[in-house]
């Protein structure tokens, strides 16, 4: 194995940007998932494209695996942990530029990978815009990283395509070439495009390919993204959030379908009591207290009216949704378990406070998530509960998050297995469950579109033809196989 040396790295990234401190290297050797621990050789901090291109060139010459990381920790899915020895972590978290926000075109253009949600939200808000963002991402989570992960977002109304809200991107492929996807491809450099009115917004293209779709879900195996644009939405003038509670998940799913179909809400998601408690409770007793007051399932929806006759709009929305809910046999409420709907809304539009909400209860959390259709969800919840029971995990404390996506064509379903990492028995159970639950869930209709960790290969290898095609593309953009080798099917 050809190993890159620190001095070779320093020539490319600068000596102060090469980290070989063992504590720091150890922190990258594993994460809160159960993937095996492999320590990287170095961490290379980068802050511009040229450096990254040089780094990739060096990696090719020395057969050095590169693992791009843009978010700060803690990491959860194993994608930032090397799967091969001799790796260099490419730390993009210091790239903090947000180049341009355009309210007319509703876009935040050229966002570097180190920008977190907490940093971006106020910047776009100044322009009267907001992001379609995931549910309370952790404070250190990279916006670009989230978009590249195809993380589900909380406004299905504005989630037209599974790739949203990503726009154009700039990427350095494993060949060392720089490429821009979407409208950013050109002609011209970014400033020239902007002079012509371009905003690096359109994601698709150029021409008969949309390579951003191959960068998403790739866990850094296809290229190192140096920036991405994000389409934004308007901040409403008036809002009216509310809950619908039920013990019958199917009823809430039907309500969600119609609310999305008729474009009656912006933020819309479903949580079970455990997840609501995890989001809002602070401390064990508060958690148990809150849990005791919550209904089994909670649908949250927020109506929004913009500056165009907002009062008329809001009155109409309230009346129309009221009529709809009545037809569906459900009722709305303004508070649940002492949490008001506006409070809930405010919470889900911010990154998580520390500690990260998923870790607040027990210190650890293993997520199992997939996509499915709404009819299958009750059965999937049952399948997961059965699997948990069989494994000896206390299913009652499992969080369930259902996020309709792509304007209701499917749902992201997420089981949050809260556990105490210090409790090795419980940790062992959760680890086993994270793998053993996969097959029963697939049998019940789960599509693991974003496989991570130990189960990833098992999931990927079910589709030989698709894997071959992905490998064919991988061979084009990373023929030397230096980008995060060992992930997915690579």
């Amino acid at each position: 194995m050809n190993m890159v040396t620190g001095s070779e790295l320093a020539k490319v990234v600068g000596a102060t940007n090469v980290i070989s401190d063992s504590k720091i290297l150890d922190s990258y050797a594993g994460d809160l998932s159960f993937v095996g621990r492999i320590r990287p050789e170095f961490v290379a901090k980068v802050d511009n494209r040229q450096t990254i291109m040089g780094l990739v060139q060096l990696a090719k010459e020395t057969a050095t695996p590169l693992v791009p990381v843009s978010s700060g920790g803690p990491h959860f899915f194993g994608d930032t942990v090397p799967s091969a020895g001799g790796a260099v972590i490419v730390d993009l978290s210091g790239m903090k530029k947000v180049d341009l926000v355009d309210p007319f075109e509703r876009v935040a253009s050229v966002i570097e990978p180190g920008v977190t949600f907490g940093e971006l939200i106020p910047v776009v808000a100044k322009a009267g815009l907001r992001l379609n963002m995931p549910l309370q991402p952790r404070a250190t989570k990279s916006v670009v990283g989230s978009m590249l992960s195809r993380e589900p977002v909380i406004m299905p109304h504005y989630h037209w395509d599974i790739a949203d809200p990503i726009g154009s991107t700039e990427v350095v492929f494993g060949t060392g070439d720089m490429f821009r996807t979407g409208a950013a491809a050109g002609p011209g450099e970014i400033d020239e495009q902007r002079a012509a009115g371009g905003r690096q917004k359109e994601a698709a293209g150029p021409s008969a390919m949309s390579l951003h779709r191959l960068l998403q879900g790739a866990q850094g195996t296809m290229g190192i993204v140096t920036w991405a644009s994000a389409r934004c939405e308007l901040i409403p003038d008036r809002e009216h959030p509310y809950f619908i509670a039920s013990s019958d998940l199917a009823k809430l799913l039907e309500a969600a379908h119609w609310l999305i179909r008729l474009r009656l809400g912006n933020e819309l998601l479903i949580l079970n009591a455990s997840d609501v408690a995890a989001l809002f409770a602070d401390g064990d007793s508060a958690y148990d207290q809150l849990l005791a007051t919550l209904p089994r399932w909670v649908l949250f929806v927020n109506l929004g009216a913009y500056k165009y006759l907002p009062d008329m709009r809001m009155d109409g929305l309230i009346q129309d949704t009221g009529a709809l809910l009545q037809r569906l046999g459900v009722q709305s409420t303004q508070s649940l378990g002492g949490i008001s709907a506006p409070e809930f809304l405010d919470a889900i539009r911010r990154p998580s406070a520390e500690p990260y909400w998923k870790l607040r209860r027990d210190g650890g959390c293993q997520d199992i998530f997939f996509l499915t259709t709404s009819a299958k969800i009750p059965g999937l919840v049952e399948a997961m509960t059965d699997a948990a029971d069989r494994a000896g995990y206390a299913a009652a404390k499992m969080g369930v998050y259902v996020q309709p996506i792509v304007q209701g064509t499917s749902c992201h379903v997420e089981f949050n297995l809260f556990y105490d990492p210090a409790n090795t028995a419980e940790a062992g159970i959760v680890r086993g469950l994270a793998t053993s639950a996969i097959q029963p869930l697939m049998n019940a209709g789960a599509f693991f579109s974003r496989p991570f960790g130990e189960a990833a290969k098992q999931i990927m290898n079910r589709d030989a033809a698709g894997v071959e095609a992905l490998k064919t593309f991988k061979a084009i953009v990373d023929p030397a196989g230096i980008l995060n080798p060992g992930k997915l099917c690579f």
Partner: protein, 515 residues
């Protein structure tokens, strides 16, 4: 290079003798090209045979045979576009007419699954019965409903029903090497709701703003995202061809609005998008409106003159659909407000009565594109620009219209004014623009039209406006490639990797030359 007897028999063994022909009668039925894009009318090269497979298995067998024999193939559904023609000898046509089923309509999860020869009018009609609707290509309801067949997949309802690149869910693809790939949830579960994953999405190599125009295998089924329809299950339509009039169910309204300046129109489109009131929006110019409404060219001349007196500048057509009486009242009120706030003029001639109702239904079913493009002069073309932010789309075509005026001044194209065509997508998040020309298919005119496209391309490069969609061959791609992230290199690598034997005919896509 005619097929050898053995080759013909081998293809015949796959599809059956009644579904293959190499007779000149059947070949010339496909070979006549009346003129589209920038070219004179003439016969194009003949396909060597017409094959009509009935299933993905037959398509796969044909493709594999092509790989063995070196015969090229080009698949199409209804086959309207220039890119459905043969580029040269040695190619067979896969006419997918026999693959015409609506496989599934999933109301709960808002998608439909279609085979290639289901046309939009058929799918829309089936969806309407269930309170649903779909995007319909701007070219019209007679085009394939599969979001992989038409060149772009942008249409009159893309303001709310998005565009094909983004409506595409799972698909079934016979690759140029003859592998059958099912994407996403289809491979994993046999269900159609998601094309993406596991991991990276193969949608990324299957299409972009445009499709590979026959050059990357054959798509045999695809799921397409569908939307809510607040109209009746079946639209009652009275009258006889060509004068059909829908019985307005009471929750549809159409207006043609115009502004003195492009800035005014931009503001109008911005407000329409932000307010989310439009069901459909399409940036016709006065001549297109006249062509749409008129049932003959004579009538079009009369209406064009009449409308031009009332229309004050660049404009667009907007259709409102109310999901409820309250919703409809709101949308109408906002439209009035926007008209007032932006100083728009509304074309009275189409505001009410049969003219209005007929226009609404033509808009939704998209039946008048042929009137707007082909009827007048027999040929239409021009430049078909990109998909991106509104302002860059608008800026580019303001540039291009100057070159169109030059052609008009020289008598080389029909003087239907230079108001560019622009449309707003996904409630104003994106836009698409075109400058269309109509002309008589004479060689000197075709030459001038080619010159115009060349100028447009140069404008796009020099002005940094973006990549047009009208790139139909290696030459045009190579003109843009060096200025556009060298995309041609990557597109060719994809082509070469997935079609090593070069059998998926790519004269309108990009060939793997130099790879």
């Amino acid at each position: 290079m005619a097929l050898s007897k053995e080759q013909y028999q081998a293809f015949e063994a796959i599809v059956g003798p009644e579904n293959i022909s190499d007779d000149p009668v059947d070949l010339d039925a496909w070979a006549w090209r009346s003129g589209q894009a920038a070219m004179a009318q003439d016969f194009k090269p003949r396909f060597e045979a017409i094959l009509m497979p009935a299933s993905p298995a037959e398509v796969q067998s044909i493709v594999r045979l092509c790989n063995k024999t070196g015969v090229q193939f080009k698949a199409s559904s209804t086959g309207w576009g220039v890119y459905c023609d043969a580029g040269g000898p040695g190619c067979v046509k896969l006419d997918l007419r026999r693959m015409n089923r609506v496989i599934e309509i999933n109301e709960e999860n808002m998608y439909a699954v279609v085979e290639p020869y289901v046309i939009h009018a058929q799918l829309q009609a089936e969806l309407m019965k269930r309170g649903l609707c779909c995007n319909v290509n701007g070219a019209g309801g007679v085009t394939s409903a599969m979001p992989l067949a038409a060149h772009e997949g942008i249409g009159h309802m893309s303001g709310t029903c998005s565009i094909s690149e983004r409506n595409l869910l799972a698909l079934e693809w016979v690759t140029p090497e003859g592998e059958i790939i099912q994407t996403g949830s289809l491979a994993a579960l046999g269900e159609w709701f998601c094309a993406d994953g596991p991991g990276p999405s193969l949608r990324g190599i299957i299409r972009g703003n445009v499709v590979p125009l026959g050059g990357l295998g054959v798509y045999t089924k695809a799921a397409v995202k569908i939307y809510h329809w607040a109209g009746p299950p079946t639209m009652e339509v009275k009258g006889a061809s060509p004068n059909y009039v829908m019985q307005n169910p009471g929750n549809f309204l159409l207006r043609y609005l115009s502004w003195p300046t492009e800035e005014g129109r931009s503001l109008g489109i911005q407000k329409l998008g932000e307010s989310e009131i439009a069901f459909g929006i399409m940036g016709f110019n006065p001549n297109m409106v006249a062509a749409n409404v008129a049932t003959s060219n004579e009538e079009e001349l009369v209406l064009a003159e009449q409308y031009s007196k009332e229309i004050v500048g660049p404009g667009f057509c907007v259709v409102l659909m109310g999901n409820s009486p309250r919703d409809f009242e709101y949308k109408k009120a906002v439209l009035e407000q926007i008209i007032k706030d932006t100083g728009a003029a509304s074309l009275k001639a189409v505001e009410e009565g049969d003219v209005h109702d007929a226009f609404v239904w033509r808009f939704i079913r998209v039946t008048a594109s042929i009137r707007e493009t082909m009827r007048g002069t027999g040929v239409f073309g021009g430049e078909v620009f990109g998909t991106d932010c509104y302002r860059v789309m608008s800026n580019f075509i303001q540039h291009s219209r100057v070159d169109k005026q030059d052609l008009i001044d020289r008598g080389l194209v029909y003087p239907d004014n230079t108001d560019p065509f622009i449309t707003s997508l996904e409630q104003g998040q994106l836009a698409h623009s075109e400058v269309l020309l109509r002309w008589t298919p004479a060689p000197d005119v075709a030459e001038a039209a080619m010159e115009y496209v060349g100028k447009s391309n140069a404008n796009a490069v020099n002005g940094h406006y973006g990549l047009p969609h009208h790139l139909f061959n290696d030459f045009q791609h190579d003109f843009f490639g060096p200025h556009t992230s060298n995309y041609t290199y990557w597109l060719r690598r994809i082509k070469k990797s997935f079609d090593p034997n070069g059998v998926s005919e790519a004269s309108n896509h990009i060939t793997a030359k130099d790879v």
